[in-house]
Symmetry: D2
Amino acid sequence: MDERNDLILNIQKQFPKLSKGQKRIAQFIIENYEKAAFMTASKLGMETSVSESTVVRFANNLGFEGYPQLQRALQDIIKTKLTTVQRVDMGKEYSTDLEIVERIMKSDMDNMRHTIEMINAAKIETVIDMILNAERIYVLGLRSSKSLADFLGFYLGLILGNVVLVGHGISDIYEQMLRISDKDLLIGLSFPRYSSRSIEVTRYAKEQGAKIVAITDSEISPIANMADEYLTAKSNMASFVDSLVAPLSLLNALIVAIGMREKSDIKEHFNKLETIWEKYKIYDGDY
Amino acid sequence: MDERNDLILNIQKQFPKLSKGQKRIAQFIIENYEKAAFMTASKLGMETSVSESTVVRFANNLGFEGYPQLQRALQDIIKTKLTTVQRVDMGKEYSTDLEIVERIMKSDMDNMRHTIEMINAAKIETVIDMILNAERIYVLGLRSSKSLADFLGFYLGLILGNVVLVGHGISDIYEQMLRISDKDLLIGLSFPRYSSRSIEVTRYAKEQGAKIVAITDSEISPIANMADEYLTAKSNMASFVDSLVAPLSLLNALIVAIGMREKSDIKEHFNKLETIWEKYKIYDGDY
Amino acid sequence: MDERNDLILNIQKQFPKLSKGQKRIAQFIIENYEKAAFMTASKLGMETSVSESTVVRFANNLGFEGYPQLQRALQDIIKTKLTTVQRVDMGKEYSTDLEIVERIMKSDMDNMRHTIEMINAAKIETVIDMILNAERIYVLGLRSSKSLADFLGFYLGLILGNVVLVGHGISDIYEQMLRISDKDLLIGLSFPRYSSRSIEVTRYAKEQGAKIVAITDSEISPIANMADEYLTAKSNMASFVDSLVAPLSLLNALIVAIGMREKSDIKEHFNKLETIWEKYKIYDGDY
Amino acid sequence: MDERNDLILNIQKQFPKLSKGQKRIAQFIIENYEKAAFMTASKLGMETSVSESTVVRFANNLGFEGYPQLQRALQDIIKTKLTTVQRVDMGKEYSTDLEIVERIMKSDMDNMRHTIEMINAAKIETVIDMILNAERIYVLGLRSSKSLADFLGFYLGLILGNVVLVGHGISDIYEQMLRISDKDLLIGLSFPRYSSRSIEVTRYAKEQGAKIVAITDSEISPIANMADEYLTAKSNMASFVDSLVAPLSLLNALIVAIGMREKSDIKEHFNKLETIWEKYKIYDGDY
């Protein structure tokens, strides 16, 4: 991965052309990019004794539409390098429970907004086609992505039937994927910090000829690189918790879209389930 | 449950005072509230041959700030009665994959906005205090709420250590809760359609003297009624999938707030984990 | 269930023809059959002031080959009625850890011996044919039978591929069995005390037209009654632990016999797995 | 591991003193020990043109009580080297399902007999003391040993309460063992082929100061080497299935012995559970 070097190199390359104030920004970022990535334009301005609009022009000069885009690029670089310990420290300036809760939830909303903006109609359609055309669909998600995998596996299983959720029970992932072939699809869910095991298993599936769909946080994630197609959703690095709110919403939406394509089938399944649920009183009847 | 009757009764009570057009709206809602709950103000106007602004005034006359609030009240009533089959039909007017995906994700954002608005500082603090003061914390979530429970149990377990995630493995929930007592806390996660089993287990915990915190969708949910304290997050009924995006974001935020209270402890834990993760190459090192 | 009445009625019917000493035995058994079922012939003789050989003749008069057969019949009657609390008390006369360990393990060996004696070549072949001919094989085992189901599901999955282990993860058993049909097979594992849920689920599978194979403790168990074919293995009631040693050995043997029928296939699978295991260092290389 | 060399070296050392016929046996074993380990004395005699009694004397000369002991030593050497593929081939000479089933189950009985013979009263007592004195008990078993771990964890959890079954759910083993300390105990279950991960995790627990109890197949297994105390049970290598019948029986017995020490406690727990089981109809009432 040399993305970091790319941005930093670019800053160094532009350096001679920059104004005096912008040079101070550049210097600060090169030396403190991990800190800079979490400063507002105004704070970065204060730190380097320039106006906020100078900071914005600096971002423009580097080819970014605005400061938020530069900031995001900086965050993307360091994101996967931040340890949980550093992430605990990031929350330090908030004093009340309420402030923390509101900050985290608003950050989740930002991630969702960002995720919706990135949606690409063609990619969505390709992914759904790949899912509907696969002979078997393997769903992979480890560590914090496991609850995403459980959710996706549960609903895809209801709609489609030919779904295998790997990484459960007494057998190993490879044993569960023993028969994966070029007619099959692996849906890999992987968000920072990327699990080594998920990457390894995805590589194995690819070697067996299976198609790969990645659900991940960026087009440069290790699993996206191996995928035939990928969808991205922003995960949250604003705390020591891996926030998977936007990814969950994307999965929600994907499941519903698949369901709409298989509508008569799933109505039949749900009719059957409703009968069972009522017979065995699975849901509370008074509500 | 008499909430439905309350709203319908209120409409009937206001009926004499309403304008001719508003009476047609009232009539239509009383007879078709399940349909009305999903119409826009303009569609409801067309259906009853009144203007959109008449619909809005009708909502105001019933004491609602606007039509969206009336609509939400109608949706709340019927929410838990909609079967999955009806919910599949609700998606019918959308034609492209993209439209569906965007609609679902925007609906998740609405839920999040609504959830943030409902946040109550005192409740948050009480819940965190209850969690930090419990001798043991039992985390309960079944069916689609199980992935929420997994997520909460995982992080609370990292931070606190005295956490039991029930409903896993070969033992039954009651066997796992054999020793629950009045020094312990049960955190019950329950969203529509409410699992009968979750209600039953929560009642059992209460009978054993345990404190109850409910994380649920409304103050009138069955599990909120039994709880010593509760937090609410909007779940989604816009499709056959139980959307738990806003609840997941609330849990995220809650976990971070708890972590901030126990900051030195969790830094120590994470320091230890980082060493282990590096030693066993749990995370991808190139990213 | 009138098995109890049958044996007791039979004793009462034979009563007039019995010798004086045998009458005392009969009386004692009728009044204390739950106690008698766990006495040796010699102890029962002492209790009723007769010789051990009188006890044996008494068993013969009732049509049993010997005392062990009578005793087993008594145990079968009460087996499923004994609560765990009674079963804890059954261990009372043993004083050292060693005595307990040896008693339990010897009792497991007796169960195995008994199980091997009951093996029926035709039943074994039928069960294997049913397994190899099914389109999908669902494996069901709940509560203490769940570890048996995990074991069977794991190895059948390796050999055959079309295996679904139900009762795991976030979906409900019925959701996992949504598509079960008359081309499919349910293997139900059920040992005393019989789980109500297992019986209910097996009934559901039968209603959907699926074939049923029961692996259970006796031909009169509830699940055997519903099965197209069944195999029996003795479970242990000598303690509060449900001993599933003989059932596990039967599953072992069944899996190997299926493997031998599919030999070239499984060699191919294992060749592939050995390569993976070596590549990822799954097994310790020094041993 | 040089056990193999030890036995082979010993044969080579004794070689000069052996009779002509015994020399042929020695030669054959050195060159074909993997084959010899599964021959009867009579077959080995035929292969090397000596009488069966010469084979027995050969075993005696090497210091073994009889041929079975020599054979077992040979089997122990190669056991962990046999791949699943070789183990599939080992079943080749059996033609009917019944023969296979009986052979496997009898081999399980042999393992149990062998295991009972090896029981050591002092070790049993030490292990039970260690279990009862630990602050927390972590139960570890991976791959095929996982169903053993589930079983042990389930019952120990009922009896003792302070039990953590690791290797489940979305968190990693190390995260579940984050707080393990020198007041705690790890019970490691490990049978051939030994999982590398289990060895690694046991080493980690030891480094944290925890006491280690190994339940394994021999005193020279990797996990026994790290343990403060260990118990052995014979596992089966007669097929491609890891037979864990004797280990399961040993766990059964161990659980009952622990239960007898905590008798009044577990009666109280079971009384409570019986009430719950009846209330929620967990067990079938007709049986």
